[in-house]
Symmetry: C2
DNA sequence: CCCAATCGGTTCACTATTCGAACCAGTGTT
DNA sequence: AACACTGGTTCGAATAGTGAACCGATTGGG
């Protein structure tokens, strides 16, 4: 791997649940020598991509990242462009709709429009969704390159409910169905009582960058409703994709 | 410079005003060979820190940055911690108060609480403030290490109004005064008719990471008012510093 | 209380990675 | 048609990266 790749992989070790890591730990997990890790960290720190807590001497992500992200968000406003479409879809379906962006092997919830109904599905911004077991994830996999899907299926699939698909074969079928229909359907794979319809949002290079999903209580959805939500979700996802690439 | 440093300096070429740049241009500005620049860009792209517009083949900042910035912001919530203090200071002084973070040789405005008065100073989030000529900048320099101040004074100082301090000697005096008082005072150095009181916010390592400033119309401020604002600004800045380092 | 096992950090000979001049092919401009 | 740009590629030379061994400082059992 390139030196730059190693440096970035150090950055990627930090997560929401573990935002500060010590040198030895960092080196071990990245598969690097301590000396190498330290040199890379110092280089990153010189550009404020990493900073070091002076007391514990542990490392954390730096302010430079916030700066760069602001520049990006100002120019590539995924959430800003998608939000009105998400809102419209929520009003049209009467259900909760959420927007996710793919990042590091999972989907990160960026924006949510809640249903106006009393009995509704609640989703939190910031929630991390697995690719299997959520409609969003299956829609994302259905739009991904085959090799990416294969790589994901290599790892064991965690069960979140009694309904979670943990057999690669089942997942492959679900992905194939989603690919042919343009949207995915999943019931209670991640949370009990929740039914979801997902559709992938594509970037300028045709690769999926995120998804949107319509989430309803299972009791409210029959096949006809699901089909209607599916078509609406696909339209919304295509509209966002088009706006992102400047085609609309 | 290290390879990593070169890669990061490529990222830093992107700005709010120029969020997409071509390969040759990028290489030229970073002082790198085209081949080198491209290799670095590909390494960054592999980790989603950069992406390439397939049509124009120009490069832009990638989604990975947004992800990393979210992780950082969740753990190190500068704006989130500071906002209520800023609000309180605005109510106490009756004036507009803004929060800035240091980044790449300048101060970036992150948050603003506007005065309730009809005649007030307006500041925009995202606005970039120079270190000389603003109260925020002088407060920041006064809290910085001497070598950082020296390095900044090496470069010519741009004049923004007829009142902007462009002589290093004058600036040194202003910095010394700010350092002894704990807050800085500046009138019309950046924009005509605006009077500002600035105070630095320190990170866990004692180095300044940003500033806050009370901005009023010049007509409304006499020495006594300024002194009062100064003390209030210092208190607020210290409170934010303490909360950031987990001391309160 | 001391020993052992960590920790973060540093050194330096070795070598693999990075560098960059020269080279494509493509696209406007003159 | 010649020119001046683009983005992208190649490959021998040279530079920058590597990591085992080594600090001194903490930490936590026994």
């Amino acid at each position: 791997m390139s030196t730059v790749g190693k440096a970035v992989s150090l950055l990627e070790l930090f997560t929401l649940h573990e935002p500060e890591i010590g040198l030895s730990d960092l080196a071990r997990r990245a598969g690097l020598d301590k000396a190498t890790a330290r040199r890379l960290l110092m280089a990153l720190a010189a550009h404020r991509l990493i900073e070091q807590e002076p007391r514990s001497r542990r490392y954390r992500l730096g302010a430079g990242l916030s700066r760069l992200a602001r520049i990006r968000d100002a120019h590539f406003p995924f959430v800003r462009l998608a939000a009105p479409v998400i809102r419209e879809l929520s009003l049209e379906t009467g259900e909760t709709v959420h927007l996710s962006e793919f990042s590091a092997g999972a989907l990160l919830t960026l924006h949510v429009e809640l249903s106006a109904k009393a009995n509704r599905v609640n989703v939190d911004v910031g929630q991390v969704l697995p690719l299997h077991g959520t409609a969003s994830g299956i829609a994302f996999l259905a739009a991904s390159r085959l090799e990416a899907v294969g790589a994901y299926l290599e790892k064991p699939l965690q069960a979140f409910t009694a309904f979670t698909m943990t057999q690669p074969d089942d997942l492959v079928k679900a992905i194939a169905l989603a690919a042919s229909r343009g949207y995915s359907r999943s019931a209670q794979g991640y949370e009990e009582g929740v039914h979801s319809i997902g559709a992938a949002i594509l970037g300028a290079d045709g690769q999926p960058i995120g998804t949107l999903a319509v989430a309803s209580p299972v009791s409210r959805v029959d096949d006809a409703t699901a089909a209607g939500q599916g078509e609406a979700a696909v339209r919304a996802a295509r509209l966002i994709s088009a706006r992102l690439t400047g085609e609309a």
